[in-house]
């Protein structure tokens, strides 16, 4: 990306900073060339002790409240029944071990693969049709200079995020359903009615549209925060250099948003197998599982609902491993594009 009139991107600034600090992250691959002048562990500990101290509370909380329960996922290798003994933890020791049997059950189920397929299709739809919307809206709002209009439209656009999915779907049904406003109006004028809500063919677009309606407005908030940190001087300097409206957006605004977009994009790709749960479960019966079953609803129907804890844990572990692989890959791509992503190489 050429940027003649604009400051260096953050990523570049980052690189120079790291280089100047002449230190490397621990745990780097052994084969990697270390910069010369590597500090001893003790020195680095002394240098970074404040940073470590600051990080510890969050890490401690996560260790206790996430990692300990996550250890419970060992039941994926069992036929777990939490009620065989006095306490569910003890039951974990007493339940029989079955190796990879639960995983085999998951992989052998054709419904699982159908759910994976639906999930991926929906993910790509959301990525293409949903992800850019908050960014575009944020740019739009940012370009409005009348403060009241900005404030009011922002406040309005946030609201749907606070509607429950039940309500969102009810509203869509009342407008686009077979007895909805549009269908009834058409009928009264002598046309045929229609029903968008029970059509398996367009279900994935429907779900995406509902998602955009509910959460796109709320999604702009992070981007607005990023835009707020752009100095007007930059725009002025660019204008002085003869950059027009679009070039300024390309060379000033977008670089300011890029790290955030990259971060969110990497996380979104990592979360590709999560495409909505409540929203889809509520509408699953309207179009049937053939079109609507996604991974999370599959796990709910086949594991959680039946208290088949081991099966649910196995499916959860599979999903987690795939997600980690995806986020690592996406992060690599981000680095390749010169972005920071989630973490540094």
């Amino acid at each position: 990306m050429s940027n003649s009139t604009v400051p260096r991107s953050r990523a570049e600034a980052e690189t120079s900073e790291t280089a100047s600090r002449a230190a490397d992250a621990p745990g780097g691959r052994p084969g990697k060339k270390k910069p010369s002048g590597k500090l001893s562990l003790r020195l680095r500990l002394r240098r970074d002790r404040t940073l470590i101290l600051m990080t510890l509370p969050a890490v401690a909380l996560v260790l206790v409240f996430n990692y300990i329960p996550i250890l419970g996922n060992v039941v994926a290798f069992q036929e777990y029944d939490p009620y065989v003994s006095d306490n569910g933890f003890i039951a974990m020791l007493e339940s029989p071990w079955v190796g990879f049997e639960q995983f085999q059950r998951v992989f052998a189920d054709s419904a699982f693969w159908d759910a994976v397929q639906n999930t991926l299709v929906l993910f790509f739809l959301q990525l293409v049709l949903f992800f850019p919307v908050p960014i575009l809206l944020a740019l739009l709002i940012n370009s409005v200079i009348r403060p009241r209009i900005r404030a009011v439209s922002q406040a309005i656009l946030y609201l749907p995020h606070f509607f429950s999915w039940v309500l969102v779907i009810t509203v869509f049904q009342q407008i686009f359903g077979g007895a909805g406003i549009i269908a009834q109006t058409l009928r009264q004028r002598g046309y045929e009615g229609f029903d968008l809500m029970t059509d398996p063919g367009i279900f994935k677009f429907l779900v995406t549209a509902e998602g955009v309606w509910k959460d796109a407005g709320w999604g702009i908030i992070v981007f607005l925060a990023a835009l707020a940190s752009v100095s007007p001087d930059l725009y002025e300097a660019a204008a002085m250099d003869g950059a027009g409206r679009w070039r300024r957006m390309w060379h000033v605004t977008l670089p300011a948003l890029r790290p955030v977009i990259a971060l969110l994009l990497v996380l979104r790709v990592g979360d590709a197998l999560t495409v909505g749960f409540e929203q889809i479960l509520l509408q699953r019966d309207a179009v049937g599982p053939g079109a609507a079953e996604v991974l999370d609803t599959y796990v709910w129907w086949n594991g959680v609902r039946n208290q088949d804890f081991s099966y649910a844990a196995a499916a959860g572990l599979i999903k987690g491993l795939v997600s980690v692989a995806l986020v690592l890959a996406a992060n690599k791509v981000a680095h390749f594009m010169g972005e920071q992503g989630v973490y540094k190489k």
Partner: protein, 316 residues
């Protein structure tokens, strides 16, 4: 141009612009095209209408009598007889006031705690190459993708003695890794020269965080505070699992229960006559009440979004 000084014109130029008027453009900015302005207006108005129309339905339904709702067979679009009976039902019984206090308390305490932990962690992780940085980051990141079942989580919270305490509503969900990552991304965007020069001046990390990083990150701190606050305010599942005492329940739970009153499964002899109040109206009233805090808080957050307020954040 004449050299005649028009006093009125000067006053006109000096006064604050009214809200419908655009504030003066910087001199370097070209006049926008008519079509551009119109296009923007149409898109923005369309987006707002797409929100306002359903909102209208929700509000009207919440204000409708059971009779009107029955006749409409569901949501009401055209108001007929306005009644506040659903709101009265919500606010009567004294439960809501107490629950609201609980919710405000949990939200304040929880948000403060979460922000403290998250800002520290985000800053602690913002210098790539620091000791353990990658390790800590991975530790946090993994929790975004691996979940735990309800039973192990419950057993943990219970064996820590947190059930039936408000800590159970805060501690298990105190850390959002997503929020830490966003904060960190913004912190890392701050010009390294600023920080380096402060360090040369002898400032330690605490001072740098407090005096340089935080003031320059007001927008993102406002956003993340909002995320946490909204999270605590609208959470209800943890309360319904970890609390047994009805008198401790936060507002969301009480609201949900009010909606359910109309929906007990058959076979449960409720023997209540719901009379004039429609369950749907109550549901919609709950929805409207849920929007109120947003309307209240929104301006405070937006204050931090003024364009270019945080000069120097992006290195020029």
């Amino acid at each position: 141009m004449t050299a005649v000084i028009d006093k009125a014109a000067i006053e006109e130029a000096a006064r604050e612009p009214r809200w419908w008027e655009a504030p003066p453009r910087p001199v370097w900015e070209e006049e926008p095209s008519k079509a551009g302005v119109a296009g923007k207006g149409i898109v923005l108005a369309g987006a707002c209408l797409a929100v306002l129309f359903p909102l209208w339905i929700v509000i009207v339904t919440s204000l409708s009598s059971k009779k009107t709702i029955t006749e409409a067979g569901g949501l009401v679009m055209i108001p007929k007889d306005i009644t506040f009976i659903a709101y009265q039902e919500l606010l009567s019984g004294g439960q809501v006031t107490r629950a609201a206090i609980v919710s405000v308390g949990v939200t304040l305490a929880g948000t403060l705690f979460s922000m403290a932990v998250s800002v520290l962690a985000a800053y602690g992780l913002s210098r790539s190459g620091s000791l353990g940085h990658r390790w800590f980051l991975m530790t946090l990141l993994a929790t975004m993708f691996f979940g735990a079942g309800l039973i192990p989580t419950y057993l943990l919270v219970q064996s820590l003695g947190l059930t039936d305490t408000y800590l159970a509503l805060i501690l298990p969900s105190a850390v959002s890794v997503f929020n830490i990552l966003v904060l960190r991304a913004f912190f890392m965007g701050i010009s390294p020269e600023l920080i380096d020069s402060a360090r040369i001046d002898g400032a330690g990390d605490w001072r740098i965080l407090w005096q340089i990083v935080l003031p320059l990150s007001r927008a993102v701190v406002a956003v993340i505070t909002l995320f946490y606050a909204v999270g605590y305010w609208s959470a209800w599942f943890n309360a319904s699992i970890y609390l047994s005492d009805q008198d401790m329940m936060p507002l969301q739970n009480v609201m949900i229960q009010l909606v359910q009153k109309q929906e007990a499964p058959v076979g449960v002899s409720q023997a209540i006559k719901t009379g004039q109040i429609s369950g749907l109206a109550i549901q919609m009233a709950v929805m409207v009440m849920a929007l109120l805090p947003v309307a209240v808080i929104s301006p405070f957050v937006q204050k931090h979004f003024k364009k270019g307020m945080l000069t120097g954040a992006v290195k020029g």
